[in-house]
């Protein structure tokens, strides 16, 4: 049986023929390709911040909504321009109503089995994003999460949480590893202490 014996296929073929004849369909695809490649090129230009050109900044403004909404807002700076040397874990010091303090660590990869590590790697990424300086906006939700995890006594709920980073810089090849340094995450006003309200624990 020829493929066009089926009436539905005849309709489909007519539709394809019509599209072929419509010059604007291919034109539209061409325009989309050009726009998309332009957006990708602008977005992926390395190290935009060091030498901001007005043309690139203007183009970025135009492509930004498209790139973020569609999810194409991709940066590819894995291990570059310099590899990450900061070995860091994150502790939450949870203070309860009676003054008792719990010391709770966000899950650490190095202490997990290999299969569990594969599934739980998101914790490492989360801690990395929270501790690498530029994201203090993440600290209050992480502190509230730690409070919820440690809210085991209704009579003695958590009232505040301090996030403490334990970090060390991996030294160059051949040099000994330093010990970890524990430092509370700092805002401009000192250690970042998140007060916990009763609604945060629900």
């Amino acid at each position: 049986m020829s493929s066009l014996d089926n009436p539905r296929d005849k309709v489909r073929q007519r539709r394809v023929d019509r599209l072929e004849k419509r010059w604007w369909v291919r034109k539209a695809v061409n325009l989309f390709i050009i726009w998309h490649l332009f957006s990708l090129a602008i977005w992926l230009l390395p190290d935009r911040s060091s030498s901001p050109s007005p043309i690139i900044e203007g183009s970025l403004g135009a492509v930004r909504p498209y790139m973020t909404f569609t999810g194409f807002a991709q940066s590819w700076n894995m291990f570059s321009p310099e590899p990450d040397k900061l070995d860091v874990t994150l502790e939450a010091e949870v203070t309860h109503a009676n003054g008792h303090k719990d010391h709770w660590f966000f899950p650490r990869m190095a202490r997990m089995s290999y299969p569990r590590r594969y599934q739980a790697e998101r914790w490492r990424k989360l801690v990395e994003n929270a501790t690498h300086g530029s994201n203090p906006i993440l600290w209050p939700p992480l502190a509230r999460y730690a409070a919820r995890v440690n809210n085991y006594d209704a009579q003695n709920p958590p009232v505040s949480v301090t996030l403490i980073s334990h970090s060390r810089i991996i030294p160059p090849l051949g040099e000994p590893l330093p010990t970890y340094t524990a430092v509370p995450l700092q805002t401009g006003h000192g250690a970042s202490i998140t007060p916990i309200r009763s609604e945060d624990l629900r």
Binding site: M67, T68, Q74, F79, R108, Q119, Y145
Partner: protein, 434 residues
Amino acid sequence: MKPLRRDWNEFWFQPISSIPLGMFRLVFGLLVLSYGLLLLPERFVWFGNRGVLPLPDSNAYNGTGAGALHLDVLALRGADHWLTAFFAVFLVAALCLTLGLWTRTSAVIVYLCINTLHSRNAVIHHSGDTVMLVMSAYLVFSSAGAACSLDRLWRIFQGRENDEPPRIVPWAQRLMQLQVAIVYLGASLSKAGGEKWVNGTAAYYPLHLPESARFPTPGSELLWVINLVTWGTIAVELALATLIWVPRLRLYVLLGGVLLHLGIEYSLNIPLFSFIMIASYMTFLTAADYTNFLAWAKRPLRLTPFRVIYDGECDFCKSALLAVRFLDVFRQLTFVDSHDEAAREAAGVNFALAEQAAIAVDPSGKQFAGYDAFRAIAWQLPATTLIAPLLYVPPIPQIGRRIYAWVKDNRGRLPVAPRYQVQEAAEERETTNV
């Protein structure tokens, strides 16, 4: 200007084989499924309102990022109980995408879901996840269901396609290829500006971060090994951006990329990242690459060519064989109509036996009938090889033989492929007209 326009049109619009894209879709679907399954147990921690980043905090975080416009289906239904339903829809769509069932719709749903998960919690995703997101967007525009898909099997059942998968207009696949090349170009150029990459010691650091490292890497304390890995990484990434477009070098460059990512997979704990990157290379392969691969893989697999004798007057049997032929990737099976006397006798099968059941005949002349034929064939098809050993485990053979006997007795009443229904109807019309 004319040659440029001709080259442009040829690159984006000249039809190519749909097999590489179909294979990519299949592997990519499995990776999306794995991504969803890895997130599923802790979905409330990552995306719930009592998790690490409740919706208002996520919105605040996204607002401080590159742009405020984000796609987030979950934001429409913030309550946590929607999360389970969301994941159910996502996983079903990922499975359908893998199988190529309702491919376009599945691709749209998968893309919306991945984009939503990225928007809902942008803090936990790594570069590999982002590549997964952008590839899923390109799949929406591509003809990913044209080959290696249940959609195609259905078209075969309908009689709209036969053995050769259709050729496709490749512009979406070309965008995938360019995306991969641009990503590697950005990565290599960015590394070229880093002091540790230039002095050849950059690879040392991630391998010694306890939170990122996976298995111990032999030689990671030796400077020359670190130099080799560091500079080798930049060289391979640069080649994946540039030399990959040189046809003669394409497979060597891809091999370099595969080795690089297998090394990363071994030494660093970045879930699915390497597999996603390796899968994206499949968009650079051609139909000839797949044919050559199948020819190469056939020998170590020690497959047996079978002749399958079937009742050519049974529409149900012919319908079933369409599916078997579709799954016979290595083309190990030859189909013989039992009413073709010469071919049947050449196979050494008598007509009475062929009337009773389908017969599979191996090169030595050994015959397998009915359920045993089905079992012998199962070893030859990649899609069923894994279940073939189970077909020997009691009571599966006993149950299988009963089912086969029931099917044989009722085959006149069982559904047949639409292409044969249409034929039947046409024959009936002709008979009535006469």
